[in-house]
Amino acid sequence: MRGGNKMTKKLINDAGTVIDEMLAGIVAAHPRHVRLLDHSPRSLISAGAPRPGKVGIVVGGGSGHEPGFLGYVGRGMADGAAVGNPFASPGPDPIVATTKAVHGGAGVLYIIGNYAGDVMNFEMAAELAELESITTRTVVVTDDVASAPISEAGRRRGVAGAVFVFKAAGAAADMGRDLSGVAQVAEMANASVRTMGVALEPCSLPATLKHNFTLSADELELGIGIHGEPGVERGPMRPADAVADAILDRVLAELDPPPGSDVAVLVNGMGGTPLMELYIVARHVLDRLSRRNLAIHRCLVGNFLTALEMAGCSISVIKLNDELKVLLDYPAEPVLFRDF
């Protein structure tokens, strides 16, 4: 069995300080792009925020998904991120502090994944922000087709498709749309994207150093969540093309993009899978989409929303209209993708 009682190894100093040390590293490495708030050490703010008259965008959630969510702070994407402990939502205080720091007078949009803790903490933060006369809206990302049937699509988890939602909303805000316009764009992107993941190996939290689920050497789990939540099928290990097909079958069955239409694709690593493998998957995904006569407007391959050191990937496909194409093409400078 992989997992079981074997302890994992991590490059950390102390499980209690991993988040603060990670954040210290990020601001030390990218001082021109982001800063931390002195009075709220779990609030990462874009150097350009607040911008007067622009809708502020705050993302957030538990840590362990890097470069999600804080890596998307930067011009053209999010203005700030509220950073929680590993796999645990931040409390309302850091969310409110982030909200106030990015508020440019035009209101603030929260974009979060559909998890009970995140939804409730951001809801409380929204109530507290309202008391300080800051209008907020919240868009909850629900792109994971494996986490609930389509009849209960509102209960689905938010996973890697959130990257497209951040991108579209961030561009709309940067172009100067108002709060309801930016929220509408985020809702449209969320409604247009579907994702499903697969795990080959589990992950472990810094505090426990124990695998949070087990898979035997010849097994994989289809439909896995980004915290290791159980998927839809535990089955035998198989070649990359077959895994990609199993995921694409479900994603495309629901999305059903008409032949000749435009899509964008994200082949996302879960944290422990090499780019070599992700590109092998991407090759098959793109081939299959092309054979379906779809135009690939854009393809992202890499670690975009991870689950600590989990091995595996997810595949997201988003249907694009003219508006979404413009928004995805708009320039953006997310902090963890810009220093070269």
């Binding site: 402990n85 939502s89 409390g91 309302p92 205080d93 009970a116 809801e123 409380m124």
Partner: protein
């Protein structure tokens, strides 16, 4: 042995402190319940939240009021517990505190209002209903028991004992429910056979209140 009939703010803080100690003592058990159907952090979240709540209360200036104690505890709890537990207990403390904010002492009627308002808060914040396999399935039976005890003119200790028993029975009943909310809900029928950890910890709270009041 009959215990006290009215709770002062200082008594209330002492009861919260007992809850904090009880949760800390049971945190491994609570996390184990959570590992079966959730992400396994309920015990440590609750322990962290209650400790932060008490730290915030201990920093308050005298004289204490119920609203000041509840507001400080709520804020301390929610920013330390993380996850869904934080907002739920913060809402319990805020709504409960608001229901008794003009009181100098809590008798059975006032305490029943506290827990009733808290239960409504859980329902709103968690968007949950009875039978969803959540803490509500322990909380609401306890509120009903307090109400019945008040009608029967029972002593405070006896009423809280009824509430604790009702909460424990309610928590046990979650074993046969399929979760509809939270991380456990993704397991559907696979969540059956396990007690909901949030219901278990809620029952611990009522049991600790009953013991604390009985022992004065």
């Amino acid at each position: 042995m009959d215990g006290i009939e009215e709770i002062t703010p200082a008594d209330f803080v002492a009861l919260l402190r007992l809850v904090c100690q009880r949760i800390a003592a049971e945190q491994d058990w609570l996390s184990e319940l959570d590992r079966a159907i959730g992400d396994g952090d309920h015990g440590s979240s609750m322990a962290r939240g209650w400790q932060a709540a008490l730290d915030a209360v201990d920093a308050l200036p005298e004289p204490l009021s119920f609203s000041a104690v509840c507001a400080a505890a709520a804020r301390g709890f929610v920013n330390s517990a993380g996850g869904a537990t934080g907002p739920l207990y913060a809402t319990i403390l805020m709504r409960g505190g608001a229901a008794v904010k003009d009181r100098e002492m809590l008798d059975l009627g006032a305490l029943a209002s506290f827990f009733d308002a808290a239960g409504r808060g859980i329902r709103e914040r968690g968007k949950s209903e009875p039978g969803d396999k959540t803490m509500l399935d322990a909380w609401l039976p306890a509120v009903a028991a307090l109400d019945a005890a008040r009608t029967d003119h029972k002593k405070l200790a006896e009423a809280l004992n009824d509430a604790a028993e009702a909460a424990e029975k309610g928590a046990e009943a979650t074993r046969h429910m399929a979760a509809r909310l939270g991380r456990a809900s993704r397991l559907g029928a696979r969540s059956q056979g396990h007690i909901d950890p949030g219901a278990a910890s809620a029952a611990l709270l009522f049991r600790t209140f009953a013991q604390g009041v009985t022992e004065g």
